[in-house]
């Protein structure tokens, strides 16, 4: 990775008061009951396994997209970490 494009996950806090690390979207696996809403809302980052539970291929979701998924998860199983 070039110096011009730092990995957002390891970015340190700067003058813009950016978070010390880009938060990742996580699934509370106990709360998740496999509604599949996250895969519909985040088709590029989340797919479903054969039982309908999410496989998160890329947890670096934009704040706006992540917030929508968190709000619409019927099981309230999504969170930032």
């Amino acid at each position: 990775m070039s110096a011009a494009a730092p990995d957002p996950r390891t970015r340190t806090a700067g003058r813009t008061a950016a978070p010390s690390r880009h938060p990742e979207l996580r699934v509370d696996r106990i709360a998740c009951t496999g509604h599949g809403m996250c895969a519909s809302l985040l088709p590029r980052q989340v797919r479903l396994d054969e039982w309908g539970y999410p496989v998160v291929d890329d947890a670096r979701v934009s704040a706006a997209d992540g917030e929508v998924a968190i709000r619409f998860c019927p099981a309230r199983a999504l969170y930032w970490a």
Binding site: R29, I30, A31, D49, W51, A81
Partner: protein, 367 residues
């Protein structure tokens, strides 16, 4: 007296339950949060016996170590052990507060013990942040700050306080300092717990237990560990750096020597069948994925283990990591991946219709 936190920092003591996290960091957070302390003496991994060994032989030091960890603000210490076990009886006879856990695989997992101690069921909880800071379970129920330390770790805390960090660091390796227990079990004449150190040749551990010289395979670290060939393992030292060759680590310190007369594909089948019944049934990827993996492995045993069938096993195992509240499915996936790697020659023999382990009977059936 120098503070125990400084001593633990200088000693470099890490957790002996398997995760090898810095004990100083954990105890510091526990002190700051006024966390309740649970000493885990469950020996929850397959083949484990060292927690019971510590309780049986070093109980006074164990209690001393627990007092050092929980030294102020009247924090209570509880000792977790499997219900009905000899370890639980010994702890109770000593007048200690025993947290009796069901003898299920995941019930001795860190967050399962915290759940049980908080009045919930002995099932893992989602760790949105470490429970040493307190938190909530997935139903929103508040959980007070609690820290879980393995029994051997707590015993080592007392030893560090008594003998000092220089003594501790004079044992083991630079990366993995200090004495450590290893349980050697299975096809050995003298099963039991060895008080040894990182860097010891694995051959010495096997010889000390008088392992069956015909044995071909070992399980290192139980169901959350790896299956390795004896010949290659004997040439290595007991250290995470060297065990990484098989995808393993010193973990919870268990070597299980497999019976040379039993087909290792069948042994793995029984491990995975056990695993399928041990999911707590909370997380979808585990409650469906582990039984599906077990069924896919059974197909390797019951039918010709074709590349397509092996691929199904690999794919099912590949869907387990990072998809549970606890690391049980991750461990099962690691174990399965190591078994596929180590048993490749054995599986190839099955494909040709013979089993190298069974002289009289052949492979169970044909497809």
């Amino acid at each position: 007296m120098t503070d125990i936190l400084e001593l633990l920092d200088a000693a470099g003591l890490t957790g002996r339950g398997g995760a090898a996290f810095s004990t100083a960091v954990k105890v510091r957070a526990a002190r700051e949060e006024g966390a309740a302390v649970i000493v885990n003496a469950c020996d929850g991994e397959i083949g484990a016996a060292k927690d019971g060994y510590v309780v049986e032989h070093h109980l006074a030091e164990l209690v001393h170590g627990a007092e050092l960890v929980a030294s102020s603000r009247g924090r209570k210490v509880r000792y977790a052990a499997h219900r009905g076990s000899a370890t639980a009886s010994t702890l109770r006879r000593a007048g200690l507060d025993v947290l009796e856990t069901p003898a299920r695989y995941v019930s001795s997992e860190e967050t399962a013990l915290i759940s049980l101690a908080s009045g919930g069921l002995a099932r893992p909880m989602t760790k949105r942040k470490p429970f040493v800071y307190g938190g909530r379970d997935s139903d929103g129920r508040a959980v007070r700050p609690t820290v879980v330390l393995n029994a051997e770790t707590v015993w080592r805390v007392a030893q560090v306080a008594t003998h000092g960090p220089a003594w501790f660091r004079s044992i083991g390796t630079r990366e993995e300092p200090g004495p450590r227990l290893v349980t050697v079990t299975g096809a050995v004449q003298h099963p039991g717990v060895l008080d040894t150190e990182a860097g010891t040749p694995i051959a010495d551990l096997l010889d000390a237990a008088a392992a069956d010289s015909r044995a071909e395979h070992l399980v290192i670290g139980g169901l959350g560990g790896v299956l390795a060939p004896v010949a290659a393992a004997r040439a290595l030292a007991w250290s995470t750096a060297e065990l990484a060759q098989f995808g393993g680590s010193v973990g919870p310190g268990i070597i299980d020597v497999l019976d040379p007369h039993r087909c290792p594909v069948a042994v793995v089948d029984s491990y995975l069948a056990f695993a399928a019944g041990e999911s707590a049934g909370q997380c979808g990827p585990c409650m469906f994925g582990v039984p599906a993996l077990s069924a896919a492995w059974a197909d390797l045993l019951d039918h010709r283990p074709t590349p397509a069938r092996v691929e199904i096993v690999r794919a099912r195992a590949g869907l387990l990591p990072n998809r549970g509240a606890c690391r049980f499915p991750d461990g099962v996936a690691r174990f399965t991946a190591s078994a596929l790697q180590t048993l490749r020659p054995h599986l190839n023999a099955h494909r040709d219709g013979r089993c190298p382990s069974e002289r009289t009977s052949g492979v169970r059936s044909r497809a």
